[in-house]
Symmetry: C2
Subunit: 317 residues, 2 copies
Amino acid sequence: MNRALDNDGKNSLEYIVTFDLKQHLTKQASRIETVLDKLLNDAVLDEEMARPPRLLAAMRHGALNGGKRLRPILVMETAKLFGRDDDGVLLAASALELVHCYSLVHDDLPAMDDDDLRRGRPTVHRAFDEATAILAGDALLTLAFDVIANEDVHDDPAVRLRLSRELSRAAGIGGMAGGQMLDLESEHRDRSEAEIRTLQSMKTGALLRYACRAGAFLAGAPVADLERMSRFGDVIGLAFQLADDLLDVESNPEAMGKATGKDAEAGKATLVGLWGVEKTRAELNKLLNESETLLAVYEGRAVSLAAIADYIVSRSN
Amino acid sequence: MNRALDNDGKNSLEYIVTFDLKQHLTKQASRIETVLDKLLNDAVLDEEMARPPRLLAAMRHGALNGGKRLRPILVMETAKLFGRDDDGVLLAASALELVHCYSLVHDDLPAMDDDDLRRGRPTVHRAFDEATAILAGDALLTLAFDVIANEDVHDDPAVRLRLSRELSRAAGIGGMAGGQMLDLESEHRDRSEAEIRTLQSMKTGALLRYACRAGAFLAGAPVADLERMSRFGDVIGLAFQLADDLLDVESNPEAMGKATGKDAEAGKATLVGLWGVEKTRAELNKLLNESETLLAVYEGRAVSLAAIADYIVSRSN
């Protein structure tokens, strides 16, 4: 899991720094978990709202599952890099995680990827039923647009509105939902490298890109930084997908907490399938190098973001 | 379909006025259809976005179906009552209709109400497949929050943001999605009148209420008018549900363009089931009277809104 451990050229100091960062990321994930728990509680944002207990329970099952919280942590670390670290950032980050969680609930449905397990627990439609899972996903997605509009996110309504709109585009037909459609269509069909890249940049990349942009935007970073963070998001998005595909090829279900080898079984086109494992690893390292180059301008201040990029790549080692 | 025709006490002038209003409503519906067609086209809001053709086609199937466009027309007529009638209102109205259409696509799914027909055509999961229908619903909902953020909707980002947030709450766990959950849970279970009213005010009422509020808010109506329109939305929301339940009890499938008698078959609790047809009709007339009282302050200027209330009630005659 830790690249420093595998590389003889790294010194022990780097190992210690990396280790502390892992603790930091765990702490950040637990901050997100706390906010999500609060958002998905009977004590509601709008006191007039009734919340059907079964639907709330299903939403909680889908969202409070001890995930890595990679996307919201990217929002938080990017915002911190540009000088902001407060409850408003946490809310914006949580809105993004709600969108991610909705997508997992729907992707797991029988009509989609048909998964029974997610992080070692029954998926929402297994723990409840299909109708409830569809509604829970719908309601998580809908809630995200309530949360991102919260006054605490940013003083300027125009900033909250822009985040809302960018989130919508990252999640919609031109982003995640469109990517999932292409992914379903790619079953048992040959796809070119360009087609797979488009698919993955939409399905996985769009939300990761948004995460890095949102953090920069929340903190009022200059345009050059916003664009650099967009590229950083693209790079780790692609790295994430390659690492995920490698894990699917190589892991066992126990280690993953979900079914593996499903891509090949479903006849899904992946870059690993096109390139093989070795070339994929080489590409991953290229992406890691590019991410380091992008962050170099921030010197030591982007150490958390660098650690996240490193983690994304190394988790497939 | 026309109350004036059934009431001997009404003079022929009222009949003519009502008839012209029906033409007007048809014209308004076609304006909405045009905007939806434009929003769901290859020529996209954000030119960088790729739009997978199959998903776009499914979204179009779910949204461009010649519906009555009751909710967006309520936005338009309410905004016009308070002095605004332009493309921004049309966009805001269309965003609401996208949310309504997403809910129909998902509600029709096999795991939910399992409907094969919607307005005489195959439902989205029948015309495409279940996975595509789930994604099409997701993407329609997501697109709504892109559209409502459009600069043309209102000069003030704070107004657009508030609309976005109110739309999210009307559609989410405390509104439509929560109401659909309660509706599914009400199958083969006795429900009290209060429980059915809560269910219906969430499932159907929340979006109709939002429609009337949004129009008033877009036009900058004073708070007293905004509250009056909220109540008007509540009243026609309940009337709509009662009329719908009556239609389900009494109609034949050909007239409705979808399956009927499904509530009783599914063992769903309705107020018609609790009250019987006669009392339901009496309640409907009370609601119509309340809507007329609410609109009386606007004299002739609210004639379209009055006609809509009348239409909602009379379509079950």
